[in-house]
């Protein structure tokens, strides 16, 4: 009975299983390249451990550089996943079904990468345990540690639970690593009871994960806004960071979707409509982002506090102007232009907009962290910051881990939730129909 | 009491110190003689303080060295030493880095490669001394004792006397000091007959107007002047600083007046014009105590122009303004302020004298003091009494020495140049190179680094190469001693005896005793003792010139004179309270001691002796001129030019006078020549910018470049570390598209240097300034290869009256380096 269903699934969703069982030469080449970059970054980090943070481009007063920029950036990207997936699930958006898994994977991988960055940034990583032994709960840095840990835990669980039925399917197909799948499937047989429990668990997590996710980026923003530094000491940083995070998250998700659609031929699952919807969401976020940025700088300029003004001027017309206007271009001009017109809102259009946004949001993180430090309140000459090879290598390493993470994941688990697709096919239509009835007048519709 | 309490036994460093020792391993940390390490390892230590004198610069500050179990661990200012009253400059704080410097010459060294190749092999003292004394004996046997030279730096007091005595007994007139203070005083000799650097009573003056004298940052004793300056707030003293680039002194002045380089004299004379025209000068003083103010008639009936007519005729404010670039309104303001404030004092130094017209400029500046009657008055210009040290008897010369001493000194300038001094490094290099009038066969180098400092680098290098045997007493191998054949390393100042008396420009008589606070760390010897040893080895009257066995004994001998004079007092507790009072009341308690030994012990304990009471002076002591007055019209200069004219040998003496004046680069004619006047500097007009070097406090003479902390601090005000920069006005920078931190080429007719630009509003547009002190090619790991030496692109020009180098007479162009 079960077998039969599976069999039929296999036929229908063969494309989703294929990456697990078939590995092309391209995979090894690409994987090899990323692995090489990753190993190089490890070596560079080793050099940093041996010699000290001197190998970076940081100095006084620019005491934070790429590592903290990338930390904020990666954690921001992580909002792609769990948060978006949770919101879509919660709002019962049916089109979410092929997307959620990828979104959740992004979160898990990127959180791991982002979460490591503050450790990479430590002058004394060997004393990391001091955080536990003598941690001060009053420090925003400790709030961060706490909320990132919580988010990471919740996200991995939230990724894992919906994977159980799929893992069971792979287990049942036999072949490689059956023991692993057996273990991970946790005795899933697809009984109604199990389904009920699973759904209940997912629903609880879904609700929990949203505030946790929001807290993560709010707390990250607090790292900056809790100080008195010009350009940092702002009350809207919390929502500004969260909005930015979701913004960059969606863009990252879109990029991942487009790449896998192409590479693994998911055209049947990831359709125009997904990109339309997510594109619209990206457009909305771009406008929200602009609203926050505008408010942030407008209030700064009107206040005209000299130190604040100095920093703003450095961004507007000084040495950081290139980054600042690049950010505005990437985060607002490009996405709004592309996504507002149906003509441009093709998949490639969306891809361009998304890439622009990811770059733009990275620039935003940079433009928040570095200029404030480079231009301290004291009358010191403008600080210089030129990231070193080590920092670039670790940045590239972070991106490689992201790619490798996905590649490895794709080798073991389906990138699109098979059972949810099935569920959508079987129950979805009926459910939507019912739902529509529930909020539209009359029953006539169904009769048409 | 105070000192005793500090001698208490305490844990060697306590908890944190223990960490330090354990963590690093004692032997590694303490690269010291084994017996000292053993002592330190025991853990508990005794803290003690030992007083001596800092000798990292001529400033002569009293310091105390903190010793733990006999190991020096830090220094601080001696609170009771009158020169610095506990203060120090950043350089002095590095005293221990000089002591422990890894690049010291640790044993006698013999050159094992070509000259300048930097290859050395250690030799024993005995071998080295044998080589030198044999060579000395040979030269003497040949009756060529005058072919031995000694190039010192700016040693004063006993060391100078000691070397003189050696050279005299040996029989050579060729003892030179590369940076003789006397060269700084030519203007005072001409006007006042004084060959000492004057002291300025900054504490009591109400207005201080300085023409380029950077007395807070450089000068002879920056800490002494800083102490005095620190009272300007409670005493309402006004400071005006006139210079082309704002120095540290300018930064602290109430008013900074930028002036075009090479025109300080014109500005001073413009001010003199206003003082005279508005009758703001001290008529009484000018009438009774000066010569040549009004027009005058000499004893042959010749009519002469006086200072007054000359100034009124030539230096009206508009003209002075045109020359100097200072607005006439400013000149009027400065003059009125000066004329209406008593007492006031006018200083000249630094930029004002560092040019081809330096002597005349300084004469013009100092003549303002005469106009205002500032000389030998409280709040004015003072000349300080010499300390009553006991002098050694004249040496007896044997016939060889007598012949040698009567030879023409080899560095004596050509007939028409440097009429007031007998030495310049320029003539030294030329004559040694040309072996004129005879070759130099042996040269001793004592301290100093003439090659790094000098402008005629190539000539000097070639001159050094001509000398058979060069013996350097340096404690660190520097650019000059790279050319030596033997290094007989001296102790550093914390390991040796010396006497540091009457630091120039300090306003009272004093003697500081520098004594070893630690046994020598390396196999080095005191140069004074080495000279005694060499003299003994040569023997005869040479050896007999040194009846005492050590330099230390000679110091003691000299100090007997101080003891016997009954004047002054050992610098002990209480000085600070009396510091201000003494000047007002002159009430000074003179200490009495039961015996010389007691006096000597107290002297060592407290670091020195001083006497703030100035002797009453007769007019002829203050003005040692032919007229016995302050001479606006310098008869001394007249006589010396006349002597040159008589020697010049052209058919008519008027032609001779022209010849002489032209050779001396004097364009003025008539009586103006002998009056303070502005002598235009002949700049190369094809270059647009004036290039001036300047000094920074952590490393003014380049001597501190081997101290890493001073290298880190080198440009602390400009936030430049270990590196040179060129200061340039933003307007000028804009003309050449130069931005902050751009790399630029600074090019003169001599050469070019690549430096980073620093834009500054505190510099005259069209003037660019590069700090001096970096750009070493030798002198140890910390000095070598950092920054540039501006002297390497400065034209080889001199003030031909005083023989001082003209550092500011070069023009440059600047281009963006790609």
């Amino acid at each position: 009975m079960m077998d039969k269903t599976h069999q039929c699934d296999l036929d229908q969703d063969a494309a989703l299983y294929r990456p697990i069982y078939q590995t092309g030469r391209g995979y090894y080449v690409v994987g090899g390249i990323f692995l090489a970059v990753y190993l190089f970054s490890i070596y560079m980090y080793y050099a940093q451990i041996r010699n000290g943070l001197g190998v970076t481009g940081m100095n006084q007063p620019v005491t934070w550089g790429f590592y903290i920029v990338n930390f904020v950036f990666f954690i921001g990207i992580s909002h792609a996943g769990t948060l978006i997936s949770a919101i879509l699930r919660l709002s019962k958006a049916e089109w979410r079904r092929p997307i959620t898994r990828m979104a959740e994977v992004i979160t898990a991988i990127v959180l791991a990468i982002g979460g490591l960055h503050p450790i990479i940034d430590l002058g004394r990583p060997d004393r990391m345990m001091n955080l536990l032994e003598s941690g001060r709960l009053q420090s925003p840095l400790l709030w961060d540690v706490t909320s990132i840990t919580a988010y990471f835990t919740a996200s991995t669980v939230y990724l894992y639970l919906p994977m159980i039925p799929d893992i069971a399917r792979i287990r049942d197909r036999g072949g490689k690593l059956t023991w692993l799948y057996t273990f991970m499937a946790w005795g899933w047989q697809g009984t109604e009871r199990q389904k009920q429990v699973l759904n209940r668990a997912i629903n609880i997590l879904m609700v929990m994960v949203i505030p946790i996710a929001i807290s993560v980026h709010t707390v990250i923003s607090y790292i900056f806004s809790m100080t008195l530094q010009p350009g940092w000491h702002s009350t809207i940083f919390g929502p500004y960071f969260v909005a930015g995070a979701i913004f960059s998250g969606i863009a990252a998700l879109l990029i991942v979707m487009i790449i896998f659609r192409k590479v693994f031929h998911f055209e049947d699952y990831l359709k125009q409509i997904h990109f339309q919807y997510l594109g619209t969401l990206l457009l909305i976020m771009s406008i929200i982002w602009f609203y926050f940025t505008f408010s942030e700088y407008l209030t700064g300029i009107f206040g005209g506090e000299p130190h604040e003004m100095n920093t703003i001027l450095y961004k507007f017309s000084g040495p950081f102007a290139f980054f600042f206007w690049g950010m505005v271009l990437c985060n607002f001009v490009i996405p709004v232009t592309i996504l507002s017109f149906r003509k441009f809102k093709t998949i490639s259009g969306v891809l361009i907009a998304s890439i622009a946004v990811v770059i733009g949001m990275w620039l935003e993180r940079f433009i928040i962290v570095v200029p404030s430090l480079a231009n301290p309140r004291m009358e010191l000459p403008l600080g210089i910051y030129i990231p070193s090879l080590v920092e670039w290598a670790l940045f590239a390493g972070g991106l490689s881990v992201f790619a490798l993470g996905f590649m490895v994941f794709a080798k073991f688990f389906p990138l699109i939730s098979i059972w949810e697709i099935e569920e959508g096919r079987i129950h979805g239509v009926k459910e939507v129909e019912e739902r529509i009835h529930s909020y539209l007048p009359g029953r006539e519709l169904s009769n048409l | 009491m105070e000192i005793k309490r500090r001698d208490f036994l305490r844990l060697f460093g306590g908890v944190s110190g223990a960490l330090l020792i354990d963590g690093c391993g004692l032997d590694e940390v303490f690269d010291l003689p084994a017996n000292m390490i053993e002592k330190a390892k025991k853990g508990a230590g005794i803290e003690a303080w030992s007083s001596t004198i800092c000798s990292l610069c001529p400033g002569g500050c009293g310091i105390q060295v903190r010793m733990i179990d006999g190991i020096p661990v830090s220094v601080k200012g001696n609170r009771f030493y009158p020169v610095n009253l506990g203060g120090m400059c950043p350089l002095g704080i590095n005293a221990l880095h000089e002591l422990y410097n890894p690049d010291r010459a640790k044993t006698p060294l013999r050159r094992s490669g070509d000259r300048g190749s930097g290859k050395w092999e250690p030799v024993t003292w005995d071998d080295a001394l044998k080589t030198v004394s044999e060579k000395l004996a040979t030269v003497r046997k040949e009756g060529k004792s005058h072919q031995v030279g000694f190039l010192g730096y700016n040693e004063r007091g006993l060391m100078r006397e000691h070397i003189s005595r050696f050279m005299r007994a040996f029989g050579s007139p060729n003892y030179y000091q590369f940076s003789l203070t006397q060269n700084d005083t030519v203007a005072y000799q001409l006007l006042q007959g004084q060959s000492q650097v004057p002291a300025y009573d900054i504490l009591n003056a109400k207005l201080i107007m300085s023409f380029g004298a950077n007395f807070l940052e450089g000068g002879y004793s920056p800490v002494y002047h800083t102490k005095l300056y620190s009272h300007h707030q409670d005493r309402n003293t006004r400071f005006v600083q006139i210079e082309s680039r704002m120095s540290l002194t300018g930064a602290n002045a109430d008013r900074w007046v930028p002036v075009r380089p090479g025109t300080y004299g014109a500005l001073a004379l413009g001010i003199a014009y206003v003082l005279i025209r508005e009758e703001l000068y001290d008529k009484e003083f000018v009438k009774n105590r000066t010569f040549g103010f009004e027009d005058w008639v000499d004893r042959f009936g010749g009519k002469h122009t006086g200072f007054k007519s000359d100034v009124l005729g030539n230096y009206y404010p508009e003209r002075a303004s045109q020359i100097t670039g200072v607005p006439s309104a400013t000149i009027l303001e400065l003059a009125r302020e000066l004329g209406n404030t008593r007492p006031s004092v006018v200083l000249g130094d630094g930029g004002a004298v560092a040019n081809t017209n330096g002597t005349f400029a300084l004469m013009a500046v100092h003549s303002l003091n005469a106009l205002l009657g500032n000389i030998e008055r409280g709040g004015g210009v003072l000349f300080i009494d010499q300390p009553p040290v006991q002098k050694h008897a004249m040496v007896s010369e044997d016939p060889v020495a007598r012949t040698g001493n009567h030879q023409t000194p080899i560095a004596q300038p050509d007939e028409i140049a440097f009429p007031m001094t007998d030495f310049s490094i320029e003539s030294f290099a030329q004559h040694v190179l040309a072996e004129r009038p005879y070759p130099l066969r042996i040269l001793f180098l004592y301290r100093g680094n003439a090659l790094f400092q000098s402008l005629n680098h190539d000539d000097l290098v070639n001159a050094l190469k001509k000398i058979d045997l060069i013996v350097s007493f340096d404690s660190v191998i520097n650019e000059t001693s790279e050319y030596a054949d033997l290094i007989l390393p001296d102790h550093t100042f914390l390991e040796k005896w010396d006497e540091v008396s009457n630091v120039p420009s300090v306003g009272f008589t004093h003697v500081g005793i520098q004594h070893p606070v630690i046994q020598p760390l390396h196999d080095t010897r005191h140069t004074g003792d080495v000279l005694i040893e060499l003299a003994r080895r040569v023997g005869g009257t040479v050896g007999a010139a040194f009846p005492l066995n050590t330099y230390e004994e000679e110091i003691k001998f000299r100090m007997k004179g101080v003891y016997l004079s009954g004047e002054g007092a050992v610098a002990t507790q209480g000085v600070r309270q009396l510091w201000l009072d003494y000047l007002q009341q002159r009430g000074w308690q003179i200490g009495r001691y039961a015996s010389f030994e007691e006096f000597w012990d107290r002297l060592l304990e407290h670091g020195g002796w001083w006497n703030p009471i100035r002797k009453k002076k007769s007019s002829s002591e203050v003005f040692r001129t032919p007229s016995g007055k302050f001479e606006f019209y310098s008869q001394t200069l007249k006589a010396s030019v006349d002597r040159l004219v008589a020697k010049a040998g052209a058919p008519r003496s008027s032609q001779n006078l022209d010849l002489v004046l032209n050779r001396l680069n004097i364009s003025a004619r008539g009586d103006s020549v002998f009056l303070p006047h502005h002598e235009p500097v002949s700049y190369e007009e094809d270059k647009p910018l004036y290039l001036i070097p300047f000094h920074v406090l952590p490393n003014p003479d380049g001597q501190a470049a081997n101290l890493p902390m001073m290298q880190e601090m080198f440009g602390y005000t400009a936030r430049r570390f270990w590196s040179s920069w060129v200061e340039i006005h933003p307007e000028t920078a804009a003309q050449y598209a130069i931005a902050e931190d751009s790399w630029v080429w600074v090019e003169t007719s001599v050469g070019r240097l690549k430096v980073q630009a620093k834009l500054s509003h505190a510099i005259v547009p069209n003037v660019i300034a590069i700090p001096f002190g970096l750009g070493h090619t030798s002198y140890g790991r910390y000095a070598k290869g950092h920054g540039v030496n501006p002297h390497s692109i400065i034209r080889n020009l001199y003030d031909l009256i005083s023989g001082k180098a003209a550092f500011e007479a070069t023009k440059a162009k600047i281009t963006l380096a790609s």
């Binding site: 002058g123 210089i384 | 506990g86 422990y100 800490v223 800083t226 620190s230 936030r719 509003h761 505190a762």
Partner: protein, 228 residues
């Protein structure tokens, strides 16, 4: 409890930098080599701020030696995740070098840019690291450091006072920078002691603190006739 404070008289201070050097020597602060120092990593617990006011030719220069201001309400200690910097009950803001994890958050949070970091293993005079002050520990790579108000000297004078069974006197606890200053521009003492020199000077009409509006309550006062 005393509240230790410093008063720097800018009308006396010439900007000579002796305090910078004395501080480095006293506290075993590493010497940073050429490349590093030029990259903005020079280590000065006592720094020098130079500013120019006005346009040529009426330019005035202002030099301001800057130690840690030892804020009573220090933004730097608030953010430290491991309490490696804290304000003790005598108002001294201290660093615990062996606990610091090197996150540099306190540096980012200090409005006065007074903290410095050991980017590399610290270095001193090569091959001759022997003139360390034995009273002050040396730091390791990767930790933050800053002016301590020479707290070890407080320890020292307290020990002496204890031995002699008497209370500390005004002027007994003198940091190295204050001791060496050739202009006597740096006064030091207890603000709680109304007879102390610093208390009186801190009340002078010339006294002000840097960026008082931030409310971090610096305990370093500057005296100047010029309005700062």
């Amino acid at each position: 409890m005393p509240r230790w404070a410093m008063v720097i008289d800018l009308d006396k201070c010439t900007g000579c930098g002796a305090c910078m050097a004395a501080c480095k020597m006293e506290n075993n602060v590493a010497i940073v080599d050429s490349k590093e120092a030029q990259a903005g990593r020079a280590l000065f617990w006592m720094d020098m701020i130079t500013t120019y006011e006005g346009e040529y030719p009426t330019v005035a220069a202002k030099r301001m030696p800057k130690p840690c201001f030892q804020c009573d309400n220090p933004p730097c200690t608030k953010v430290c995740p491991v309490r490696a910097t804290y304000r003790n009950n005598e108002g001294l803001v201290a660093q615990i070098y062996h606990r610091c994890i090197g996150c540099r958050y306190c540096m980012a949070a200090c409005p006065f840019t007074t903290k410095v970091f050991n980017w590399y293993e610290p270095q001193w005079l090569e091959g001759a690291n022997k003139c360390f002050n034995p009273d002050v520990s040396v730091r390791a790579v990767g930790v933050v450091e800053k002016c301590s108000f020479c707290a070890h000297r407080l320890q020292h004078v307290k020990e002496v006072a204890d031995l002699e069974k008497r209370p500390l006197q005004d002027g007994e606890y003198v940091p190295a920078c204050s001791e060496i200053c050739p202009a006597d521009a740096i006064s030091f003492g207890d603000l709680e002691n109304k007879d102390s020199a610093v208390y009186k000077l801190s009340r002078s009409y010339r006294a002000s603190r840097v960026m008082e509006d931030l409310g971090v309550e610096p305990k370093v006062y500057y005296l100047s006739k010029r309005v700062s």
